[in-house]
Symmetry: D2
Subunit: 139 residues, 4 copies
């Protein structure tokens, strides 16, 4: 962790008042932390725009495990990319529906490819790629 | 315009360096301005979450003016909501395609309804609602 | 315009019922049109992922025209890119606030650059790039 | 699972060709499945617009476990909402950084509140709420 800078930001008082209201509603107790979160979110999105940048993402899948051969297909696919898939969480939502979350690390383009392959599998009801960060270099 | 506040924000130096790079690439010459833009963008999005809040939006439509009765339908629809539609811009993109941008002001729910009605009209190739602000109270 | 294909789509009846409800609420009178809109929206987003693809977008700016030299700066910037900016609409929102919408055509990367330059200008309260299409080749 | 409907959709041949290209690139082997995914994604988003609707989401957090008391705070928060948090996955990304994914079920407004509380905690570098579905009633 590098040292801390303390910068001054000029903001119209009305605007600042509205921002303080907004972040209080979101649960922030500290204005600097809210600013840092705004910044980090922009940086994470920027990273994902470069296909070769190392990123971390999660893939969330909801599917009916009764669909014939679906679990097998999803498992096979995951093994094709086992080097990039760090871990998986499985939740039994009800008698039929499963939710699976995969944590995937790799180049942005590869993570997207893995996500596309899983989400497009027949029987997956809903799939979503969430972009986040390895945290490294993001103080 | 209310008076200016000058606040201090504590940021890890590495994080600040990355933010400065990002905003320079985006064309900012002033760090405070970049912070204010981040704040205002969040506030605008918050306004649109309340159906009764007064907002301003633009509706962008691309369509083929050769589609029978399409221009008439779009014009009729706009007249149904003439009190909310402040102004319209029309561009002839090529021999067939038109782009129209409408500036709409009203309650968030009404602006969305107008946008839905226009975008769902048969013959409209692409439609998009852009959320923005009246600027009032947003210093 | 090329000829019309008629394809069959297999959908679970419950899912279809929910889709029909959703599109009715949005104003669609025709299910095929709703499907085509879903498709076209995906294609437009795909185009914008390739920096060299020809696209059309609109840039929406809200600003206070009392800010010193702001109108001049925005006009200067626009003239730097006059070949790409097809047209502009200006609305006087209230005593202080202006809304300006620009229709911009060019390579995706250039349109983004123009948008960044305008939105980052000091005094612009809110700016938004809306991605759309020239309509060409999008039946 | 309800019975299957087979509906006809009229699409311009050029547009269909482009759609087929797009979905092939995404890994779909079946056009109906691509259509169903488009539909389901819209329905999931619609559910999340109603604060009282029962939904399922995942919250992804990246944080440095060296930050004093952070793990404790996150755990405390999670216990406040233990009825809604179905399961949690933890990955050690590197020496410093942890990634945690929580599967949360409840009313849309409650799931958002839990997500806000976790993401706004000081020391969380990046947080993201992913909206998905319980799968029930979504064939």
């Amino acid at each position: 962790m590098s040292e801390l800078s303390r910068i001054g930001v000029a903001i119209d008082s009305d605007l600042l008042g509205k921002f303080d209201e907004l972040i209080e509603k979101r649960g922030y107790t500290n204005r600097s932390e809210a600013f840092r979160d705004l910044i980090r979110d922009r940086l994470v999105h920027q990273d994902w725009e470069s296909p070769d940048r190392q990123v971390v993402g999660t893939v969330t899948l909801v599917y009916d495990h009764h669909v014939r051969m679906l679990s097998e297909k999803l498992t096979d696919l995951q093994h094709d990319f086992h080097r990039s898939i760090l871990s998986t969480l499985h939740v039994h939502l009800d008698h039929d529906n499963c939710l699976e979350v995969l944590v995937v690390r790799g180049k942005a383009a590869v993570v997207k490819k893995i996500s596309d392959a899983l989400i497009s599998t027949k029987g997956v009801k809903h799939g979503q790629l969430t972009i986040t960060t390895s945290g490294a270099g993001l103080a």
